[in-house]
């Protein structure tokens, strides 16, 4: 069996462990300690942010400007409109050769 198929099998198993492991650990608690609960409530703000923020570092200027503008658009517009406008800004900037 090639190395790839071992990665398919074992990598898939390990991935499932991380995707279920947090719940398996947490469900052993009779009651979730308040500080842990506070940390869990912060997971969306903490983790999803780290997927976006490096654009400010690695992106070119149109991308940096677009991500900051999108942040303000998101305060006002529905999700789909913000995504469309943010993406359009970058596409237009690239078409214009910026």
């Amino acid at each position: 069996m090639s190395e790839i198929w071992w990665i398919v099998l074992l990598g898939g198993g390990l991935t499932y462990l991380t995707r279920s492991g947090g719940h398996l650990v947490l469900s052993r608690f009779e009651r979730v300690p308040p500080r842990l609960a506070a940390a869990l409530n912060a997971v969306p703000a903490a983790v999803l942010t780290t997927l976006v923020a490096p654009v400010l570092l690695t992106g070119d200027w149109p991308e940096r400007v677009a991500i900051v503008l999108s942040l303000f658009l998101a305060l006002r517009l529905p999700l789909i409109a913000t995504v469309a406008l943010g993406t359009a800004m970058v596409a237009l900037a690239r078409a214009a050769g910026l």
Binding site: G11, T15, L40, P44, A53, T87
Partner: protein, 234 residues
């Protein structure tokens, strides 16, 4: 809410995400075949691992001739954020039977996590909504992988349409949905600064885990006053 409208809501919410991940999946499929994998092997990784970043890391390390255990270690490091996802989302699966829970965790990728957490801000998270969203996304990823692996060379540059930028904007808008949660701004700001610093100093994928831990640490040290949302037992 009826299960039919939950089903429709799940599909409606997944549509923009599908638009964002399909080009990414096509690129992955093309890269995989480029790296010497067969079409079947390229699809195999998508079927079981089902995580774009992890699959690209695996490709890169196989290309570098890394031994199996090193590939698996790197993959797990990229996947660590899923531990946090399952810990958080697990608290909202009250309407799921045990096998629905077990199945739900198979599909707990970034957009599914975001959608599930956003959903519980306004609704009860039903299996119908969750699986409509999650299965459509999973199917889309498989189709995209297959397209990329078989037709890779014929597809133009997705960057020209800005498609590579959909995911960052999508995650940004998803983050902003949580802005009314107590303690949101300090946590998001600390995670943003920490992830950028780690990205610059250590490099990816550590910026995700370490950046997130900075924000979570702050939330644990300075829990928001007042009602803690969903703070009960799992």
């Amino acid at each position: 809410m009826s299960s039919r409208s939950d089903f429709r809501a799940g599909l409606r919410d997944v549509l923009p995400v599908l638009l964002a991940i399909m080009p990414f999946g096509i690129v992955y499929g093309a890269l995989a075949v480029d790296a010497g994998l067969s079409v079947l092997e390229a699809c195999g990784l998508s079927l079981t691992i089902y995580a774009g970043a992890s699959q690209l890391v695996a490709l890169q390390m196989v290309g570098l001739g890394a031994p199996l255990w090193v590939v698996l270690f790197a993959l797990t490091m990229v996947n660590l954020r899923h531990l946090l996802y399952s810990a958080s989302v697990g608290r909202h699966l009250g309407a799921f039977s045990w096998w629905q829970k077990a199945l739900a965790f198979c599909f707990l990728v970034d957009p599914v996590f975001g959608a599930a957490e956003t959903r519980v801000l306004t609704h009860r998270l039903s299996p119908t909504y969750y699986f409509a969203f999650a299965m459509a996304l999973y199917g889309g990823w498989q189709v995209a992988t297959l397209i990329g692996a078989t037709l890779g060379g014929f597809i133009g540059d997705p960057a020209a349409l800005g498609l590579d930028f959909i995911l960052p904007v999508y995650f940004l808008t998803m983050v902003m949905e949580f802005r009314h949660r107590a303690g949101f701004y300090p946590v998001a700001a600390i995670s943003a600064v920490a992830s950028i610093a780690v990205y610059a100093l250590i490099g990816p994928p550590w910026h995700v885990t370490l950046g997130a831990l900075a924000g979570l640490g702050y939330a644990a040290l300075f829990p928001p006053k007042g009602r803690s949302q969903d703070g009960g037992a799992a």
